[in-house]
Each structure stands twice: as C-alpha cells, then as structure tokens.
Symmetry: C2
Subunit: 243 residues, 2 copies
DNA sequence: GAGTACGAAATCGTATACGAAGAGTAGGCA
DNA sequence: TGCCTACTCTTCGTATACGATTTCGTACTC
C-alpha cells in the first residue's frame, strides 16, 4: 500500500542498492520492535550484520534520521527515536492536517469503484470490532485511509502523509490499543466520510471532516493518557513499550 | 590539500562537520543561482572545489535531495531541481496548507510586541510598493510571515513550513516578479491578518485566511502564466531562467 | 570517601581506492 | 543513408583504512 519498494519478494527488501537494502532492513527492525526505542545503532555492528560496509549503513541511518525514526548526534551515534507522547501528539496533529488536505484533494478523483473498496475495508473493520485486535484494526485503518488519500494529485502533500504514517508506525503507539472504545466511533465516521464523498461534498467539507476524524482519535488518546498518568503517577512511559 | 579551518569568518556556513559544510555550500549556490536549475552536480567536481572528499559531498547531496532541492537518479547523479511551473504550484499549495496551520497555531502565542514587529515589516513592504523591487519585496514578505508562524508549537509543522520556503527560494520563482499587481493586495491582506490576530480571532478563521492569502498569490501566478503561455505559445520555460 | 585527571577503548568522520553501471561515440552492417 | 552494436569514458556505489572525537574505566589526590 504505502510501500515504496519497487518489488518486495516476501520479507527481504531486496533493493537495488545496498544503501536501500540497509535502509529497508533497519527501518523494518525499528518498526518490528527488534530495535526498541532508545536502542543505540552502531554503524559497524549493523554493517557486519547486514554483510555490507559501513558506508551504505551510514547513509541509511541518515535517511531514517531525516524521517524522524532515529535521532542522531555528531560523533556519538544514532539511537532509535523515543516514543515521547508529545511526539505522538505532534505527529498526529501534523497528520490530521496533511491527511485531511490529501483526502479532500483526492475526493474529486475518486470513483465508485474506489469508494466500494474503501467501504469493504470499513466493513472488515466493523467485523473486527468483536473479538477486537488492535493491531489488525490499526492496519485496516491505515488501508482505509490510504485508499482515500492515495489519489491526491499533489505529490508533496502525499509524501507528507506517507511520512506521517511512517512515523506513526515507528512510534508503535496505536490509539486503538489504549482506547478500544474509539474504534467503534471511528468506523462510523469512516462511513460518514464515504457518504460525503459519494454525495460529492465540496473539498472544504471533506477536509474538515477528515481532519476532525483524526483529531478525535488524538483526543481520545490524550484524555485516556492524561487520566492514566494522573492515576498511576509513576513510570509514565510504561504504557508504550509493551509491544 | 587546502584545509578549510573549522572556524569560518562570516558568510561561510561554519559547520562543524564537512558534510554540513558541503551541505551549506551547495545549498547556498543553488539558492544564489550559481548552480542553475538543471545543472548537473558531479560529486568529484564539488568535492575538489570545496577541498573535501566525495563522501561528505555525497551526504550533502542526499540531504538536499530529501529537501527536494535536487533530484537524484541512481548511478546517474544529481541535478538541481527544475523550476517546473507545476512544481511551483505544488509547493505553493503545500505551503498554503502548512503555513496556514502554523500561523493559526502560533496566533495564541503572539503578543502585541510581535504584532508590532510584523506590522513594521508590512509597512516596509507598503513603502516598497513605489519604486518596486521584487527581490526586496519577496524577502520582506518572507520576514513578515516568518514572524507570524515562527511560534508554532508543533515542530513538525514548523519544519514543513521552513522546507516549503526553502524550496521556494531554490525555485527562485517569485510571483511578485511576474505579477507586481499582486503586491498591493498582498500588503492589504497582511494588514487584515494582523487585525484578525489582534482581535483574537479563532484559529480556524486565521488558518482559513492565511491559506487564502497564499492561494491568492498562487492564483495570480497561475492566471498570469496561463495568459503568457497562451500568448507566446513557444518556449514555455523562458520566463523562468532569467534569474 | 569523593572528586578529578589521565589513559584506553569504542565509535564516528573522512580520505582514498577500486569495481560497476549508464551515457556517449564510433564503427559496421543492412 | 539509417540503424544497431561494441567500446570507452565518465560518474556513481561501496569497501577498506586511518585520523578525530567521545566516553568510560581506573588510579591518584584532597
């Protein structure tokens, strides 16, 4: 869906250049949790592990830094970016902005067939509500939105949306894991969004609603956490790293 | 080997690492127009020119690629990003989105002193209307907006705004050069924006107006160019590279 | 016993070297 | 004469090597 790789065989990135290989491999390990947040990324170790030299690894790390997945310090090294709740907030806020715009810009280019596909995914999500699986739900949620914003004609905005989702994936902090109640509302809002598009609502309405939809998810997260943190009071990031 | 001193006198980037030096140097040359759009960036040549090895240059180029200032092709090389009118459109559209949001998010944090500074810059712009100098006007325009969005609390969005302005600078395609009539309206809209902020208008109103303000500039550009291109009909990019 | 200075290990940053992939050009063949 | 092929040349991609910087451990002093 939002895989930029030309063709991935099954799990190995298998990109043309070793830099891209290294990029894909390290990124995957971050997203998978093999490299937990705060983990130090040593160039030589990764290079040996991947069977390449440090040069491509270095380049991969810098790319990941540009995407915000790792933090980098000169002459010190890189560490996997932390899962600061503030960071999540910023990312979600940014995503609400650019995804709302991308969805609105996509809307005129979306035909009935695409709407049907999105509706099918949304029905899967609805079915997923019983026997709730946060991971699966989150993945479907991403698929749903990707269908709707992927036709955005402005490649810059589309790229920003992809980056946002990427960062969310690296943060590994799904709202639906903490606030499953939000899932049901989310599905309903999806249905409403589809009906807006089907009725040919104007761009501003769609943008506003798409943005609100994401903001609502963020709000659910925030209220949940402010409550949780006030209750537990200690070890405020214990809730994140149980991936 | 002529070693560049770590401490730079005044205009050199003065970065600690050679990668950053190279990044700053190449970027400056692109923005200044020393490397015109379409110019091929050969690693070895730049490296020799800067007195460093190709490795830092390579990294600098990749960073510039990530920012969109240069395009890169594997095993072929990098070229300074073109000034495709379409690219300008996309960039301005994206900027209208993120800058509008950044301005709206900044608004609650802006006090009277900041508003006064912005107003002063706007008056400079108004004075600049006689004896019109597009370059100076464009610079003041950037200053004006920077004052208003710089307090945006979301660093991601703020970063996107900076990137957008960066890319605009690299495109070197100022609307005010082609459509000086737009300048007067722009100043008035700035004044209105300031009054909105002074009156404590809600975020949505400010965002909407800031976005519209930029979109209007873009529209002026587009109508000008569609007219110009229809008239000249040939060599549609002649208007760009007289920088 | 605590703080500081020195030294060693680890790791990054950069230079140099060589192999690989594309682009351009000249030559041959239809 | 036009097109295809082989070759060379430029330029990038990656490996290896070495110097620079930081960090951590240890010994010494107050």
């Amino acid at each position: 869906m939002l895989m930029a790789e030309p063709v991935a065989t099954d799990d190995a990135p298998a990109a043309g250049s070793k830099s891209q290989q290294a990029y894909g491999a390290v990124k995957q390990r971050i997203v998978d949790g093999a490299y937990p947040p705060g983990h130090r990324l040593v160039l030589a170790a990764i290079a040996q592990d991947l069977g390449v030299s440090v040069v491509p690894v270095r380049e991969a790390i810098r790319r990941l830094e540009a995407e915000g997945l790792v933090t980098f310090q000169r002459n010190v090294g890189a560490t996997v970016a932390g899962i600061d709740p503030t960071e999540y907030l910023y990312t979600m806020q940014t995503l609400s902005l650019v995804e709302g715009a991308a969805t609105a810009l996509s809307a005129p280019l979306i035909d009935a067939e695409v709407l049907d596909r999105a509706a099918a995914v949304n029905e899967e999500m609805r079915a997923c509500l019983q026997d709730f699986d946060p991971l699966r739900f989150t993945r479907l949620n991403q698929d749903f939105h990707a269908i709707l914003f992927e036709r955005c004609p402005n490649p810059h905005i589309l790229d920003l949306v992809h980056r946002g989702w990427n960062r969310l994936a690296s943060l590994r902090s799904s709202t639906f894991r903490f606030v499953p109640e939000r899932a049901r509302d989310s599905v309903e809002e999806h249905a409403h969004l589809l009906s807006l598009m089907a009725d040919g609502a104007d761009a501003d309405t769609i943008e506003r609603f798409a943005r609100l939809h994401r903001s609502a998810t963020l709000d659910a997260y925030l209220t949940h956490f402010s409550a949780t943190e006030a209750a537990t009071d200690a070890d405020p990031d214990a809730a994140h790293d149980h991936g």
